[in-house]
């Protein structure tokens, strides 16, 4: 073997080695980024959980590491769960959310089906318009909505919230559904039309079952927005028995400058439980739904 052949072979191996090290570097960078992101996102709930296991005295005690629990107790949870207002907040949130999700999905599915599949004058413009309404923040909308809700006599009522929350949920859900419906091959509705389906039958028997991942994604979004809404209930509800969890916990557990931190944290964790459970079970559908919307919308 000549010297030049040897050096050539070494060159090849050296290149292979550099490729491998590049991959290793990319892997480590990815892990480091993921760990950093996980710490950033998990630190608040972990701190909430740790604090919820502490008694008032331990929370107030400024010495020692605040991330550690010295005398763990479930007192905050038992107090909250035996507290009638807290259960009422929970019930109010559940009623509002179920109603809002139902209203949102009915409107969004019908609107998206019409905008994605029926050819009529201005359908493209309307589809863009629906999405643009999502860009108007609720902090801007609550003043005119206050007038409307007040005019309807629904201030201080969970039904007022059921009426206004869809202004937050319908545009985005419709947009997700338009994208999903648009990704369904057109031949499928033509086959259904020839098979004898009417438009409503086509929607119920073909589109809704086929678009289930998109519908679940939109449902989760509507659920999360409705469950976590803060600005509208703060503006429209002042009576404790009509409050949802988000403002109920804050208004009832903060007395002047006295903060029941342990209970606030326990309440916040309990409030976060339903969305977490839903995400855990339906995460795959959620990702599939959002992806379809993103690529085809």
């Amino acid at each position: 073997m000549s010297a030049s052949t040897v050096s050539k072979a070494e060159g090849i191996y050296a290149k292979a080695g550099s490729l491998s090290s590049e991959r290793r570097w990319a892997l480590w960078t990815a892990y480091a980024s993921l760990i950093f992101a996980a710490i950033i996102f998990l630190a608040p709930p972990v701190y909430m959980f740790v604090t919820s296991l502490k008694g008032s005295a331990e929370v107030a005690n400024m010495t020692g590491n605040p991330w550690l629990v010295r005398n763990p107790t479930l007192e905050n949870y038992t107090t909250l769960l035996s507290n009638r207002p807290f259960l009422k907040f929970f019930l109010n949130s559940a009623i509002i959310t179920v109603c809002v999700v139902a209203i949102t999905m009915v409107i969004s599915i019908l609107a998206a089906f019409a905008l994605a599949r029926m050819r009529f004058w201005g359908s493209q413009f309307l589809a863009t318009g629906v999405f643009l309404t999502y860009l108007i923040p609720d902090t801007l909308l609550f003043i005119p909505l206050y007038q409307i809700v007040g005019g309807l006599g629904l201030l201080n009522s969970i039904w007022g919230l059921v009426l206004v929350y869809p202004t937050l949920t319908v545009p985005f859900c419709t947009w997700i559904m338009i994208g999903y419906f648009a990704s369904i091959p057109k031949e499928l509705d033509e086959a259904a039309l020839i098979d004898g389906a009417t438009w409503p039958q086509m929607l119920l028997k073909i589109f809704i079952p086929v678009a289930m991942p998109g519908i679940i994604a939109a449902t989760i979004f509507a659920f999360t927005v409705s469950w976590a809404a803060f600005v509208y209930p703060t503006a429209f509800v002042t009576t404790p028995d009509q409050m949802p969890l988000t403002i109920g916990v804050v208004s009832q557990l903060v007395r002047a400058d006295t903060f029941a931190w342990g209970q606030i944290m326990a309440g916040a964790l309990l409030a976060a439980l339903p969305p977490v459970i839903i995400y855990a079970f339906l995460m795959d559908y959620y990702i599939a739904g959002l992806t379809a919307g993103a690529t085809k919308g």
Partner: protein, 366 residues
């Protein structure tokens, strides 16, 4: 079962583009008609207008003697098979096939009987519980056909149903479709861009180009007696050879003179037909299978045709030889045992009974 009539059918899109320019076509009961043509010729649009999936700009469509212009697809009593199968992905094969009957509120026992019968014809009985995603391309296309068969409609419409399949499966499914039509005998309109599919399946082939019908006829008629240059070039594979030429002589002894000086005698029985074109530029067309190696034959009107092969393609059962004559590519089909080499002159045999003469001014075959 029913006949289908298209009368002065026009489809114009916004902006004035006319996809179909006033076609007339009568399709008889039980007939298998194939619409064939290149992309954008209007064949799929015509099929979709028959299905009711495209609105008609003007003209009439009648199915079984009933004008269906304003009747929605579901009430036209038709069934359609799509290129991408269009199976409902969330339903089993059985439910896919039964869907149309369920919507029409057929009794369950009748639905089962029809689905089982169609599954037997198409050999998919063992797939009835599967979902479409668990099927191969060929199986999906059978299910799509089964969905059409169970409905027992007046007309079957096929929109390029084999285009998504690989070459081998396409040949197999072509035979299946022909077998199914021989069994159920439903009037069928089939759209394809593949002229071999058209030739093998059709009772009559409708060749379309630029939104008009170029020619309608049985496959053999189109092959042997094309009406236009387009049909002559479109039907047949490899395509017909064309070359500009000149007619010389008189009604008793007419010759086609090619640009390289080769003179090919015109058969006597055609001389009178071509005589008015003597001295005028013409196009001569001859299929590669009628330009072959010289062998002893008792056929008349075989003319010598000198050539210098430039590309040789051995195909197994034949050898294709390509050469250029005055800038025009000419192909010939030779016996595979015929010795032939690139650059070595050979003399081919042109079957002048099979040549066509085209008037370049009108593109009509004379």
């Amino acid at each position: 079962m029913a006949q289908v009539s298209l009368r002065k059918l026009v489809k114009a899109y916004e902006g004035g583009v006319q996809a179909v320019k006033g076609i007339d076509l009568e399709i008889a009961d039980h007939e298998f008609v194939v619409l064939v043509g290149p992309s954008g010729c209007g064949k799929s649009t015509t099929l979709r207008m028959i299905a009711g999936l495209e609105e008609i700009t003007s003209g009439d469509i009648a199915i079984g003697g009933t004008l269906v212009n304003d009747i929605p697809p579901r009430d036209r009593d038709i069934a359609m098979v799509f290129q991408n199968y269009a199976l409902y992905p969330h339903m089993s094969v059985f439910d896919n096939m039964a869907f149309g009957l369920t919507l029409r509120k057929f009794p369950k026992a009748e639905i089962k009987r029809r689905v089982d019968e169609a599954a037997r014809i198409l050999d998919i009985a063992m797939l009835l519980d599967r979902k479409p995603k668990a099927l191969s391309g060929g199986q999906r296309q059978r299910v799509a056909m089964g969905r059409a068969i169970v409905r027992d409609p007046k007309v079957f419409l096929f929109d390029e149903p084999l285009s998504n399949l690989d070459a081998k499966l396409r040949v197999q499914m072509r035979t299946e479709i022909k077998k199914v039509h021989q069994t159920v005998k439903t009037t069928t309109v089939y759209v394809t861009h593949d002229q071999i599919e058209a030739m093998t399946l059709a009772d009559r082939v409708v060749v379309m180009n630029h939104g008009v019908i170029e020619q309608v006829g049985p496959p053999q008629e189109l092959y042997h007696h094309p009406a236009t240059r387009f049909v002559a070039g479109f039907i047949g594979s490899p395509a017909m050879n064309f070359s500009p030429a000149r007619l010389e002589g008189d009604a008793h002894a007419l010759r086609v003179v090619l640009p390289n000086g080769t003179a090919l005698p015109v058969p006597e029985h055609r001389a009178a037909r071509y005589a008015p074109y003597v001295g005028r530029p013409i196009l001569v067309g001859i299929r590669p299978e009628h330009l072959t190696d010289k062998k002893p034959t008792d056929k008349r009107n075989i003319a010598d045709f000198p050539a210098i092969p430039e590309v040789i393609e051995p195909m197994g059962m034949e050898t294709l030889v390509h050469f250029w004559m005055d800038g025009h590519e000419i192909s010939a089909r030779l016996d595979p045992t015929c010795p032939v080499s690139v650059g070595v002159p050979i003399t081919l045999a042109a079957d002048m009974d099979q040549m066509h003469i085209i008037d370049p001014a009108t593109d009509k075959v004379l």
